[in-house]
Amino acid sequence: MDIDSFLRDPVSRRRFFAGSGLTFAAGSAMFAAACGDGQDTGGVATSREEDDAADVEILNGALDLELMSVAAYKAAAARLRGEVLQIGKLLVEQEQEHADALVSAVEDAGGTPNRAKSSYDFPELRSQRDALRFVLELENTAVAAYIDALPRITKSDLRGTASAIVTNEAQHISVLRGALGLPQVPHAFVNGEAG
């Protein structure tokens, strides 16, 4: 994957969640509460097996994105210093929490979770500023992808969980923008499209 093209192409990033439904099952503290008896809100009746198969595809797309974020923060960390490095460490831990939860969710839906790629084609990061801008762009991409997928979530309680992840990614954006000296809350609506 050409990461630069991916980040700039909304169609490509939305393909991370290209299946028919984004559903998170149990497996972490957050997702456990969302498992089992959530209200299905989709208009088309599907079997549990069909839902699970679609879920696995979508969840694995989300997992790919979170795993790439973890790798991106680790790559960026080499350029971060002092307090900014501490911020980077916190944010990568939270991306890993999202990934761990998604792994459990894929397994609970009967699928095999995708694994991190052995390497990613990230751009060269020459400075702290480069590194911050890169992960900021990735965070915006994540927000756009999750919000795009949100209506395809079939279980109501799981839609709440996905919203909690989106909100966390939006908070990362504010922290990163602050570290770059940019306005931390540039828009009243956070959709990842206007970085």
């Binding site: 999202h98 709440g160 919203s163 909690a164 989106v166 939006a170 908070q171 809350v185 009243a188 956070v190």
Partner: protein, 210 residues
């Protein structure tokens, strides 16, 4: 306080689960208030913040949820306007409060337009009672730090309310609008926490319950 608790029982679903949730939220808010030293989040505002957190609990369709959200956003505007009027804020924090007031106003506008698209009328403007019941809590503060702590509690309650709403809204575009607003409220929390030198992002899943 007793009146507000009664209102939940009389006006709500009167379901034991909902009442239990209210009591749990209230206990949590009381605990936070005590953690701040007892005087920061005024005792009188604690059950009222809990009512904000439960604002969408009674909404069973998109129109009623939107109406509650509009009411909540209008009150949020007033929270920040009252904070600015307090005269307790530094120039920098006052600018932040003005920005956040503008954000809340934009949310209210978008939600009102969405409600109109559903063919429903917007709710009445908040009454003096509504304003006093929620914004009144900010009148008990005496420093910028107090205002910021109140604003954090309020924003947490709003995030929790939107988290609930995301589980009830049926329209796809409304789900996306709700998420983009919830995310913005989460960003407000970052700025407010940093102003108090608190960890800006304490949890990987922001539900307003943290």
């Amino acid at each position: 306080m007793a009146c507000k608790e009664s209102a939940i029982v009389v006006d709500g679903d009167a379901g034991s689960a909902r009442i239990a949730a209210f009591q749990r939220d209230r206990r949590e808010l009381v605990r936070r208030g005590l953690a701040f030293g007892g005087a920061v989040v005024a005792a009188s505002s604690i059950p009222l913040l809990a009512s904000v957190r439960n604002a969408f609990a009674a909404g069973e369709d998109d129109s009623s949820i939107l109406a509650e959200a509009i009411r909540l956003e209008r009150i949020a505007v007033l929270v920040y306007d009252r904070a600015i009027e307090s005269g307790l804020l530094s120039t920098r924090v006052e600018r932040v409060a003005k920005l956040f007031s503008d954000n809340e106003r934009e949310h209210a506008g978008a939600l009102t337009a969405a409600l109109a698209d559903l063919g429903a009328q917007p709710p009445a403007q908040p009454t003096v009672k509504d304003i006093d019941s929620v914004v009144g809590g900010i009148g008990d503060v005496s420093s910028q730090a107090d205002v910021l702590r109140f604003a954090i509690e309020f924003e947490m309650a709003v995030v929790a309310a939107y988290h609930d709403a995301q589980q009830k809204l049926s329209d796809a575009e409304l789900q996306q609008l709700g998420a983009s607003i919830m995310a913005n409220q989460g960003q407000h929390l970052v700025v407010l926490r940093q102003a108090l030198k608190q960890p800006p992002v304490p949890n990987a899943f922001e539900t307003g319950e943290n």
